[in-house]
C-alpha cells in the first residue's frame, strides 16, 4: 500500500517557488488596477515585487507574491469587477506556447486535455477532477497551492477566462452550469454578465458542468499542425511539478481510507513533517480527506445514482450507518437527499 511517490519527483511546487513569469498575470493585474486609479507603489507594497520585474519580461514570481498582489488590488480598487476583468485578459494573451496550443485546439475536449497536462503554464492555482454522466461532463475544482483568502477571486478570474475563451473559439456562448461553494454574492450582476445565468450558490463543491455535445463542437481556429508545434515547444520546457496539496490529494483519491501515518510514509516523510507542510498551505489532513470524500460521495450518489450499499462499498466504508454519518457530516444532507 505504501509505495514511495517521491522517487520520481524530487520536489513539489510550493507557494514560495519563483516559477510564474511576471509579465503575465501580474502585469495584467497591475494594468487594470492602475487604470482604475490604484497607486503603483501601494499595489506592490509587501509583495517583494519590483515594477522593473514586470516590465523586463524575464523575471519570475512566486504564487505567494501573486496572491499578495491580488489582495492589494482588492483593497486598493473599490469595485467588484477586477477578478472578472482579469479573467477576460487571461486568454488569449501572452502565456506563450500554451496560449497558442489552446488557440488552435480542436474542440473543448481537446482544450481541456491540454489544460490538464500543461495547467501550470496558465492556471497554476486550481486543478480539476473530471467526472462524466450520460448528459454532462463535471469538472470539480480544487485549490492546488493554498490560495486561502484569494480563492473566490481566483475562481471568478479563471471561470471568466474559460467562458470568454470558449466564446472566442466557438463564436457562441457555451451554456456552462456553475456550482459555487459560497453564498450568492451582492455583486451578482458581474457573475451574470461574465458567466451567464446558470449559477448555483451555497453548493457543497466548486464545479462546472457542461452538456456533452459541447465538448465536440469544432473550434474556429483549429489547426493540427500549429497545435502540435506549440505542444512540442511546451514539452521542451515543461516542468511536471505538482503543487504539494494537489499531490497529496491525488494520492488520497486512490487510497481513500489512508491514515496520516500511511500517507506520510508514501511521501517519504514523518507524519509531523506532513502536518507541518500542509499547515503552510493552511489546510489540515482531515480537511483534505473530508473534501475528497464529499466529492466522491456526491459523484457516486448524485451523478451515478448508486445506492447506499454500493457507494459505501466503493468508498471503503465498513458499513452503511458509518457511511451515512460521514455523508451527513460532509454535506449537511443524507445520502437519499443528495440522490434527489
Amino acid at each position: 500500500m505504501t509505495q514511495q511517490v517521491t522517487a520520481c519527483r524530487p520536489r513539489y511546487l510550493s507557494l514560495e517557488d519563483k516559477c510564474l513569469p511576471a509579465h503575465q498575470l501580474a502585469a495584467s493585474l497591475m494594468d487594470l488596477a492602475i487604470s482604475r486609479g490604484a497607486n503603483k507603489e501601494r499595489l506592490l507594497r509587501g509583495t517583494k515585487i519590483f515594477y522593473q520585474d514586470i516590465k523586463s519580461g524575464r523575471a519570475l514570481l512566486s504564487p505567494a507574491q501573486l496572491l499578495g498582489l491580488m489582495a492589494n488590488v482588492q483593497s486598493q480598487v473599490d469595485s467588484h469587477d477586477c477578478s472578472f476583468l482579469l479573467g477576460r485578459r487571461i486568454f488569449p494573451s501572452n502565456y506563450g506556447h500554451i496560449s497558442n496550443a489552446l488557440l488552435h485546439s480542436r474542440d473543448l475536449k481537446d482544450a481541456l486535455r491540454l489544460l490538464q497536462v500543461f495547467r501550470l503554464q496558465i492556471c497554476p492555482f486550481m486543478h480539476a477532477y473530471t467526472y462524466r454522466d450520460n448528459q454532462q461532463l463535471h469538472l470539480v475544482f480544487n485549490d492546488a497551492l493554498g490560495c486561502a483568502a484569494q480563492w473566490q477571486f481566483i475562481t471568478e478570474s479563471y471561470f471568466t477566462a474559460l467562458v470568454a475563451g470558449t466564446r472566442l473559439l466557438l463564436d457562441r456562448r457555451v451554456p456552462f452550469h456553475f456550482d459555487f461553494p459560497f453564498a450568492r454574492p451582492r455583486h451578482i450582476q458581474e457573475y451574470e454578465e461574465n458567466l451567464g445565468y446558470r449559477l448555483n450558490f451555497s453548493q457543497p463543491l466548486l464545479r462546472i458542468r457542461v452538456d456533452l455535445p459541447w465538448l465536440n463542437a469544432p473550434f474556429l481556429q483549429q489547426s493540427q499542425s500549429l497545435k502540435w508545434h506549440a505542444i512540442q515547444q511546451l514539452k521542451q520546457n515543461q516542468s511536471t511539478r505538482l503543487g504539494f496539496i494537489e499531490a497529496v490529494r491525488n494520492h488520497l483519491r486512490h487510497h481513500r481510507q489512508q491514515t496520516l501515518q500511511d500517507t506520510a510514509n508514501a511521501f517519504g516523510m514523518s507524519p509531523a513533517t506532513l502536518k507541518r507542510k500542509l499547515k503552510l498551505y493552511k489546510i489540515r489532513f482531515q480537511q483534505l480527506q473530508d473534501e475528497l470524500g464529499m466529492q466522491q460521495a456526491i459523484h457516486l450518489l448524485q451523478v451515478k445514482k448508486l445506492n447506499n450499499e454500493d457507494t459505501a462499498h466503493l468508498m471503503d466504508f465498513s458499513d452503511v450507518p458509518n457511511f451515512r454519518r460521514a455523508v451527513k457530516r460532509w454535506t449537511g444532507s443524507t445520502p437519499s437527499q443528495l440522490r434527489l
Binding site: 487604470s35 482604475r36 486609479g37 497607486n39 469595485s79 472566442l168 454578465e193 445565468y197
Partner: protein, 307 residues
Amino acid sequence: MLFEKPTMNISLLSRHQNLVSLIAACLSLSVSLSFGLGQLKDWQEISWLDILGEGSIALLSLFWLFFILISRPPGRVTTGLVLGLSCFMFSALLDLFDEFVHYQAAAAGLSLIESIPAGIGMLIMSYALWHWHQEQLALNRQLCRREANTREHGQIDFITQLYRADYMRGQIDMQLRTKDDSPFSIMMLDIDNFDRFNRQFGPQEGDRLLREISELILMNLRTTDLACRYAGDRFILLLPGTDLTLANELAQDIRQAISHLAFKPYEQASPIFHSMTIATEAARTGDAVDSIISRVNRRLDDSKQHA
C-alpha cells in the same frame, strides 16, 4: 489619467498658495502678538485643563482649514470659508496663548479685543455657507440623470463616474415602495461586440469608449431619469412615470444617437461605429427588484441571440 483614487489626495493644496500664506500669517501674527507683548507665566500658574480645551479648538480649526483646502478648487466660496475660519482660528490662538503669558498694562487691551476676530469670522463664514448652498444646488443640477434622491459616493463607478448597480437597486426599490403606483420602466443597454473592440484596441480604449457612451446616453435622457453602470458593458436606466411604449421610443432615440457616434480609437482618423442592444421592461404589480432586473436581462439576452 483622468481621476485619482479617492484616498488622501492633496494635489489641490498647491493651487491655494494665497490662502495658505493667509493662514500662515494668522499663525505668526498671533504668536508674535502674544509672546512679543506679554511675559511668560510661572510654571505653577498655568492651567493645563484650559490649555487642553482651548488648544483643541485651535487645532481642530486648523484641521478643518486643511480639509477645505484639499477638497475644493479655488473660488469665491472657498476663499470665504477659509477667510472666516482663519479669523476664528486667530481668536482661538490668542485665547490659547494668553494661558502662557501675562500682559503688561499697555497691552491689556489685547485680551479685551481677542474675541472680535472670531465674531467677524463667523459672519464671513455664514455668508460663504449661503453661497456654498447655492453652489451645491447648481452642482445637483449638474448631477441630474446621474443621481436620484440619495447620495452615496462609495457606490460610484470609477470608469464612467456613473453610479453602480447597487445604487440602482436601491432606487428601483424606492420606486416600488412609493404608494402612488405610477408606472415606471427599466431599460438595459449592452454594447454590441464590445469584447472584440477590447481585443482589437486594448482595454484602455475600451474604458474610454464606455465613458463616451455613458455621456451620450445621459444626453438623451430626461431630467427625471437615472442612468447607472450595471456590469461590464451593460448600462441600466430607471425611467419614472414612463410606460413601455414611451420607454421604447426613448430606446430608439438612444440607439440612433449611438449609431452616429464616430469613435476614433488612438486618435486615428477613421472612426469605429457602434450599436447597442436595448431591452425595456415596465414594472408590474407585486414586482421585486431582482425580478424586474432579471426580466429585463433575459429580454436583452434574447434579443442578442436573435440579432
